[in-house]
């Protein structure tokens, strides 16, 4: 039993320790070089800032299906997780880390980095994800949420561009 517990704890700690180790290798890009996060969905319909509704509401930690609001958010990321794994229950206009530290929405990649340490390292190194601009100078880093919808981060399939014309049909 004890062994299993130690193994389980180690297993859980592993990603975190990797994330920590990874964080040492490559410096974070200058915040100015990180692409602005996409606008919040429905922000134009008055859904931002979150605090305008949530500030007075009691915090409900129970995992459940949302029926009143945010029905479009179906968490397909980290099954068994819940909003407050990432969203800050005490200040809804921010995110939080496992350590309890508050993080702004503009730095959401720090939240992702908690589990995806290697990807975070490679993102900083310039491998994972995408950068545009200068290969030898100023570039803009796409951040995680520019490509991955955090509640369902897997890429969706898309329609490909048309196939090339076969040589026999080039006239």
């Amino acid at each position: 039993m004890g062994k299993k517990l130690i193994a389980a704890v180690l297993f859980l700690l592993l990603p975190l320790s990797f994330a920590y180790a990874a964080g040492q290798d490559y410096p974070l890009p200058n915040p100015k070089d990180i692409m602005a996060r996409p606008a919040f969905p429905k922000a134009d319909q008055g859904l931002w800032p979150c605090s305008q509704c949530h500030s007075g509401m009691p915090v409900n930690y129970k995992i459940r299906k949302l029926t009143m609001m945010h029905q479009d958010v179906v968490l397909k990321h980290m099954p068994g997780g819940w909003c407050f794994d990432c969203h800050n229950p005490t200040n809804r206009d921010t995110l939080k880390l496992f350590t309890g530290q508050t993080v702004s929405f503009d730095q959401s990649y720090l939240v992702c980095a908690q589990c995806h340490g290697f990807i975070f390292k490679e993102w900083k190194a310039g491998l994972h994800g995408k950068r545009i601009g200068m290969w030898n100078g100023k570039k803009t880093y796409y951040q995680c949420i520019n490509c991955h919808w955090p509640h369902d981060p897997k890429f969706k399939s898309i329609k490909p561009f048309p196939a090339p014309i076969r040589p026999a049909d080039i006239k």
């Binding site: 076969r166 040589p167 026999a168 080039i170 006239k171």
Partner: protein, 428 residues
């Protein structure tokens, strides 16, 4: 010098004198050439998109014809060696017609290359540095340009020098500079076809072309199909002109062809075995050629026609009874030419590109434009050869003689075959 030029012009005049049949033949060729020119104008206007060539199969019918004709040009060596090295008299009497065929074939080669170029006006870029930027020795195409042009000029010099000497009733000496050029033309003849084979060998991304036997196979094929063409031409020549060619000479050439064809078949067999047996991904091209690949079979009829034609030709020419009978000999020659033309042309160039380097199969079949342009070039070749023969005939048969002194004095001699008689230092 002025005298020589004058004499040349007089001899040149002879090409305009001929029977109605002669003019009809020329008009027929001119008609075919007009078809070719018409098609080429279309190609020049719209670009090579008028051909069936595309990125996947970037060389086609033009280069196939080119490859075959390099062989025809090189084949003159089969008569040059016995006549100049072994002083085989009957062959020496007709070697000049073989050399003219080499000139013709080379001119056709150049035309096929020109029609294949995307920017023919820029062709001078291929000249050596003071003018162009020839990429020598890196590019095998640069080697090919050098070899083909050297061989062309060698043959032109030799043919016209021999005619010049003949026209004055003189004999050329093998120890002279021209003698040296004649000897030089032997390795150069071998080199033109070798370099052309290396041109394909160098395309190492296309395994179908990557076998070391390609150059020897090219030469063996050339030495059978080229002289086969000459055999047919010689028979026409002795029929329509005063040129006397004995049956014995033709049969001797047929014997040479038999050896060459046997070696050619052996080489083809070796190549097919090596390509087929391992069944690796590199066998895809030869599978496509012989049996088709993934249901794409457009080259299969070509290659089996070629195989059957070549084998039947070999049987006919191997057997002494059929070899020394003109009906069967000529059948063999025609079959051989067809067989090797298909095998060395379409059967070599197209499978190299099919499947292409990324595995795509594009079925290439020449378009009408390509066929008409090629027809025009062949007609041009026939025209050039006819005119060359017509130009040479009066001198060759001895009807036209110029005094060796500087005098303007033309006298006709009734000797039919005066040259290569009594050439003491050559016999020695």
């Amino acid at each position: 010098m002025i005298q020589t030029i004058k004499n040349f012009i007089i001899a040149w005049g002879s090409i305009f004198k001929g029977s109605a049949k002669y003019y009809l033949w020329l008009a027929f060729l001119a008609g075919l050439m007009a078809v070719g020119v018409h098609a080429y104008i279309g190609q020049a206007e719209h670009g090579l998109i008028m051909t069936a060539m595309r990125d996947q199969v970037s060389w086609g019918f033009y280069i196939s014809n080119f490859t075959f004709l390099v062989g025809v040009a090189a084949a003159a060596v089969l008569l040059v060696v016995p006549s100049y090295v072994h002083h085989d008299k009957p062959i020496k009497e007709i070697v000049i017609f073989a050399e003219m065929m080499a000139i013709t074939a080379l001119l056709m080669c150049i035309m096929f290359i020109m029609t294949d170029l995307g920017q023919p006006l820029r062709v001078w870029h291929i000249l050596p540095p003071p003018i162009g930027l020839m990429h020598w020795p890196s590019s095998l195409l640069a080697w090919d340009v050098l070899a083909l042009n050297s061989y062309l000029f060698l043959n032109i010099i030799v043919v016209f020098y021999v005619l010049y000497k003949l026209s004055r009733g003189e004999h050329y000496k093998m120890k002279s500079f021209v003698g040296f050029l004649i000897y030089l033309s032997i390795p150069v003849a071998v080199s033109i076809h070798t370099v052309t084979a290396f041109l394909y060998n160098a395309g190492f991304s296309r395994p179908f072309w990557g076998d070391a036997i390609l150059a020897p196979k090219f030469i063996a094929g050339a030495l059978s199909s080229g002289p086969a063409l000459m055999l047919l031409v010689f028979q026409v020549l002795r029929k329509v002109t005063d040129v006397k060619i004995e049956d014995k000479t033709l049969f001797r050439i047929a014997t040479f062809i038999t050896y060459a064809l046997a070696i050619d078949l052996f080489f083809i067999g070796s190549e097919v075995f090596v390509s087929f047996y391992p069944g690796t991904a590199e066998s895809a091209s030869i599978h496509y050629l012989f049996f088709g690949l993934h249901g794409q079979t457009n080259l299969v009829p070509y290659i089996w026609t070629s195989v059957i034609a070549t084998v039947v030709a070999f049987v006919l020419i191997l057997n002494k009874g059929t070899r020394e009978k003109f009906v069967t000999l000529n059948t063999a020659c025609v079959l051989m030419i067809v067989g090797i033309y298909l095998e060395k042309g379409m059967g070599l160039v197209i499978p190299g590109f099919t499947p292409d380097v990324l595995g795509e199969i594009y079925q290439y079949t020449p378009t009408a434009t390509e066929l008409m342009v090629s027809l025009g070039v062949w007609a041009f070749g026939a025209m050039v050869y006819t005119l060359l023969v017509k130009f040479a005939l009066p001198v060759y048969t001895g009807k036209l003689r110029f005094a060796s002194s500087g005098k303007e004095d033309i006298h006709e001699v009734k000797v039919v075959r005066p040259h290569v008689e009594e050439v003491p230092e050559e016999q020695a």
